[in-house]
């Protein structure tokens, strides 16, 4: 995650992305109040997951929605989405096994990682997976050899400006290379299906997809010159969750995407695929932590609040302070003051927010709780197996539609 310039966070400020969910808003709160689970823990409301999926289904009725399993691979979450008819974007054999175990059909799975072992491609193909991402000649050759006849889409590199967690240059090729690869795919007996791109996760600029849709159009045109008619554009992920920074509502994203599609494809509109992860599960989770200790810094100029959750047991996305969670505490309502927030390990880098301004109740002390809101995505699965001897972050699922 990239180190962005300092931003300002405040306690529990509702972000512009907060969508009306229609489910009991406090199913998670009720669970926390009644069960008082050991901390730290993540609580996910499956009703909110369903609701988000349906919102997106309504907003993009023609798109195939592939849930990005990496965002939250909790089996109950995957199972809910199987039940709703979702497709799945997977990164590894482990994620394929998980989806199949939860009842997903192999044809609902898109192997979206461009970095795949040859034997993992063969294994996926043997399991019935038929759709693969690629962005290199070496990977394409492997797919052609061990997954004959499979569908492939080629990932192009696009500008990630506006993203809180941009991708750098690890994935994607130039549009002209994509044309070469897709033509070669056809010549190798594969189904050259389309183009994908990713404008960066937690993308706060709805116009960002324009870059990718324009690039996709150029790849479509280039392939057409070789007599190859592509049919699909994979819009990737990027739709936001509600952190401290305001994000536009879903409708704004959809409108801009539709405008770009009209501009570049007109009546020749391709099939669409989207890979939401954070958007589906981010706002559906609350991470409860306990205050370990509150101290004054050595210079007496700042107050440090140490939580039992940190960068190595769930909050990996606080690296570079990229993702700034909204907070709620057991002392809300008391007068607040600025704090530095840090995790519980002996690691000097296990500091959550030092440049981002957070204000928490001055009365906060060891034993109080602090909830990190919208923490359903990219938390528990990042957790270390036991760095410093701390256990991985457990996940509890509740269902706001099943409340009494």
């Amino acid at each position: 995650m990239t180190d962005l310039s300092a931003t300002t966070g405040v306690t529990d400020r509702p972000s512009g992305t907060a969508q009306q969910t229609g489910t009991t808003p406090d199913a998670i709160q009720q669970f926390l109040d009644r069960q008082r689970p050991e901390t730290p823990c993540l609580v996910v409301d499956l009703a909110q997951v369903r609701n988000r999926y349906r919102q997106l289904r309504t907003a993009l009725p023609d798109a195939r929605i592939c849930y990005a399993v990496k965002a939250n691979p909790t089996p109950e979450v995957v199972g809910e989405l199987v039940g709703l008819g979702a497709s799945f974007d997977v990164a590894s054999p482990g994620e394929i096994d998980l989806c199949l175990a939860k009842g997903a059909a192999p044809e609902s799975i898109s192997y979206g990682n461009t970095i795949k072992k040859r034997r993992d491609i063969a294994r996926a193909h043997a399991q019935g997976v038929r759709l693969f991402a690629t962005d290199s000649a070496a990977d394409l050759a492997n797919i052609a050899e061990v997954a004959p006849g499979a569908q492939v889409f080629c990932r192009v590199l696009v500008d990630n400006e506006g993203s809180r967690t941009p991708f750098g240059r690890k994935f994607g090729c130039l549009p002209e290379t994509a044309v070469e690869l897709l033509v070669r795919a056809r010549d190798l007996g594969l189904d050259a299906f389309g183009v994908s791109f990713h404008i960066g996760s937690q993308q706060l600029e709805p116009t960002a997809w324009e870059h990718g849709i324009d690039a996709a159009r150029r790849v479509f045109a280039g392939c057409a010159e070789h007599g190859l008619r592509l049919r699909m554009v994979n819009l990737g992920g990027g739709l936001p969750a509600a952190y401290t920074q305001s994000a536009p509502p879903l409708a704004d994203y959809v409108r801009r995407i539709e405008e770009s599609l009209d501009r570049h494809f007109g009546a020749e509109r391709p099939e669409l695929l989207v890979e939401p992860g954070r958007f589906v599960v981010g706002d559906a989770g609350v991470l409860r932590s306990e205050v370990v200790l509150v101290t004054d810094s050595c210079d007496g100029e700042s107050r440090w609040v140490y939580l039992d959750i940190g960068r190595y047991n769930g909050l990996a996305e606080t690296e570079g302070e990229a993702i700034t969670y909204r907070l709620r505490t057991s002392r809300d309502g008391d007068p607040v003051g600025p704090v530095v927030l840090a995790g519980p390990t002996c690691d000097g880098d296990d500091v959550l927010y030092q440049r981002t301004r957070y204000e928490l109740p001055r009365t906060l002390r060891g034993g109080d709780w602090v909830d990190l809101l919208s923490a359903g995505a990219y938390t528990a699965s990042y957790s270390s197996v036991g760095f410093n001897g701390f256990a991985p972050l457990p996940t509890h699922c509740v269902d706001g539609d099943q409340q009494p």
Copy 2:
């Protein structure tokens, strides 16, 4: 880990720290050749762990050696060190349980984390742990209440210049605050034992301990003015493993430390405690990975080598390219060229070395292996539970003294 300026790494260049171990150097290699374990995996040679412990025992005969369990909590490693009479620096209840389970005496355990829940202090005390670090009034009050009569040492903040992984300002207080806290500790009925500091892990400058020993002397003097005679200086960790950058030999560190102790304490030499982690286990481990894919970058100007090990399944210390491992490949001897090294996940930040220059054989391809040398510390325990569906890094132990 801090983002340092670009450095130059090369393949398998022996570093100045490489100590003669006296054990069969290739016990790990033999295991890898014979067993061909699934990759990625870490292989640790217990003979090299023993050897390193004994080197340090000889070099610092008067110091109490507390192995920093966080560096590698593999039960076999902890068990070996229990057998050698080591003490243990622990960060959490989990690490205390591990040490006790492997036969460590409670009085051999130092609870070195200054960030402790009150109930975890009580639990440790009930288990027989009697030595605690502190650096704040809040933590000290907890210790006094739930671990009455315990020994405490106070951590002071010192300059970390020269460290590849400096601590920032998360831990430690000013020397004058340490005096206040230690005097208060005495007044609360605790045994105010001494002072600790940490000059940063992988410290390449043997004179770095001077800062901390000088600070400790000032705390001793300040406490003496209150009629409190401290008895112990905890020199922390910082001794290096053999990565691509040269590090001085152990003797240089010991000589500089002894000089500082003589200068500041003279005949009033305190008891010493050291907390080596990386030095004990770093060079004892080899991490075997497999090449997933080799590609040309989108601009055709760089070659990317993707391994099945990355930042999220073991190589957390490549963050900011802080730790630069020496590499060995199955194609060594073939002509080399520059590469970017990256991990297997769909995360754009899962890139190991992009600014650090690494050169690997031009013949390298998917299915070949790449060994990361001196990877025994801060690898497996950092591994995520399953980010992107990849399993945590397993550890295999061998014993070079038990070879046929």
